[in-house]
């Protein structure tokens, strides 16, 4: 019952010598006040952070849900309760389904490719390689750049006829000038490419850390048994990387809903919403059309989606993460 390691005296402090007196006192009498003081100190330390956390995360999350049942206040007309009207509007909104679909494609296009690339990059950089530090730097640099700057660089890269992309494909393959960002069929893919370029190096870091913690003896033992590189990777390295993969995937999924900065520069969601994602659409609805109630409704959809994914991922991966 008595826990000497947790003896906080609160703000008043005590003389160093009276610790023995404390110990010989009847513990049941002292415990109440001591523990209550510890509670209060703990809460007080937490208070400032919690105020901000609640003010900008938890309370807004709740009011978002509440506001989705009200109309948008305009001028002197206050918001009034409209029940599920906003949700009906959402279900009937073709743009909502389009951006949701786009977001699915965006996730499917970015997550597997960037995770796979990250693993390959980490494996390469982890080995003895001539100019390893340059290669590592090349992979990692995009991570440091602002996404908005990345978009500027790639916009130039994609410029029809004139950009490097067209110059290379024109020179090597003789393709005509192509407007990748202006074509509804390729705009989203062009954005996916930029995102993979930006993300892969970031994920590589986590794999690199994980690879360095795998004991070499495991690999050597397997090689003595005659296992090839691929077998070693498939049977030893990859399973041991599973916890990292879970971590990276959670990050990648959240990012697939969060990374929209480059869309502002590259396509502005166009053409015809072909490259708009959910968060971008929320921005448009709330801050270009000023339909804040509908914006709140869309935010609820995003929150629901994120929680479902978090739960799903947790249960799906939970079984596979553990080492065999």
């Amino acid at each position: 019952m008595h826990r000497p390691s947790f003896r906080f005296q609160g703000l008043s402090g005590r003389f160093p010598g009276d610790i023995d007196i404390f110990r010989t006192t009847d513990i049941s009498v002292m415990r109440g006040s001591k523990f209550r003081r510890e509670w209060i100190t703990g809460w007080l330390l937490l208070l400032p952070a919690l105020v901000f956390l609640f003010a900008f995360t938890h309370i807004p999350a709740v009011t978002t849900i509440l506001n989705s049942f009200f109309s948008t206040p305009r001028g002197r007309r206050p918001a009034k309760f409209v029940g599920l009207d906003n949700y009906e509007q959402m279900i009937g909104d073709p743009v909502f389904w389009k951006v949701l679909w786009n977001n699915l494609w965006f996730a499917l296009g970015t997550i597997p490719v960037s995770v796979a690339l990250a693993i390959v990059m980490a494996l390469w950089v982890n080995e003895k390689l001539a100019g390893r530090s340059f290669v590592r730097m090349a992979y990692f640099t995009p991570t440091v750049l602002p996404l908005i700057a990345v978009a500027n660089i790639w916009l130039f890269f994609y410029t029809p006829g004139f950009g490097l992309f067209d110059q290379i494909t024109g020179f090597l393959l003789g393709w005509p000038a192509t407007n990748y960002l202006g074509n509804p069929d390729s705009a989203l893919n062009a954005i996916i490419v930029v995102t993979v370029w930006k993300e892969a190096g970031f994920f590589m870091i986590f794999y690199l850390a994980a690879l360095q913690s795998i004991p070499v003896t495991l690999k050597e033992a397997a090689q003595i048994e005659g296992a090839g590189r691929w077998t070693v990777f498939r049977r030893i390295t990859f399973p041991l990387l599973m916890p990292t993969t879970l971590f990276v995937c959670v990050n990648a999924v959240i990012n697939s809903f969060r990374l929209v900065d480059h869309i502002f520069i590259l396509t502005d969601g166009g053409p015809d919403n072909a490259s708009a994602l959910l968060l971008f659409y929320i921005y448009e609805v709330a801050f270009r059309f000023w339909e804040t109630a509908y914006g709140a409704t869309l935010t609820v959809a995003l929150l629901v989606l994120l929680s479902l994914l978090a739960l799903g991922q947790f249960f799906f991966f939970d079984r596979k993460v553990h080492y065999r």
Partner: protein
Amino acid sequence: MTFDRLLNALAAWILALVWVLPLAYAVWTAFHPAAYEARFELFAPLTLENFVKAWDAAPFARYFLNTFILVTMVLAGQFFLCTLAAFSFARFDFPGRNILFALVLLQLLVMPDILMVENYQTMRLLDLVDSIPAIALPYVASGFGIFLLRQTFMTVPKELDEAARIEGASFLTILWKVYIPLAKPTYLAYGLVSVSHHWNNFLWPLIVTNSVETRPVTVGLSVFSAVDSGVEWSVINAATLMTSGPLLLAFLLFQRQFVQSFMRAGIK
């Protein structure tokens, strides 16, 4: 075996070259006259004129100052709030601790960016719209920071803590003299991650600022390079490099620390 290795090295290098290509291209155009935007000659004349033009065309000095203030504000707030909260979670026992910790972790999933609609209303209520604190406030209590510091504080040996307490040190002294010094690498790692994240942040500042006096560089850059403004490509690329320059330079100089910081921040 050696052939295999050679092939791997070759592939690694090709990918690395592909990866630097966009950036290298931006550097090329930024440092050459507009006439060489798409013509690659080894001895094309170098120039800094694009940077001068960009610097003169938009108030970048002010944008840099804003970003600097913003990043400092966020970092100071985060260090202060997250340290206290992490210490509380790591070393105090009080009712509701687990629930509160779960609420903190919830922020890893629901980031302030996602709640921009409501947060904007809050800022309007506080009369803070179009101010630098408005950009910073939603991020100062970072769930990630609290979590990271708590994990670090938990590894501090209890014996150290106890010894200090027997000496009669108050808990704030213990935090300051024992915990914080031992967590220095975590602070460095978290600081680098936080600075680069908020230097690069765009969406929330775009929403909540609308004047030169408050805009950070990312928003300033997007205003400057808006498609229909008719600025030359080479100038836009110069501006792009300029805005990411300080961070890029810091990264090239402290590459090892950066990579290790990101690693440390990612592993629990």
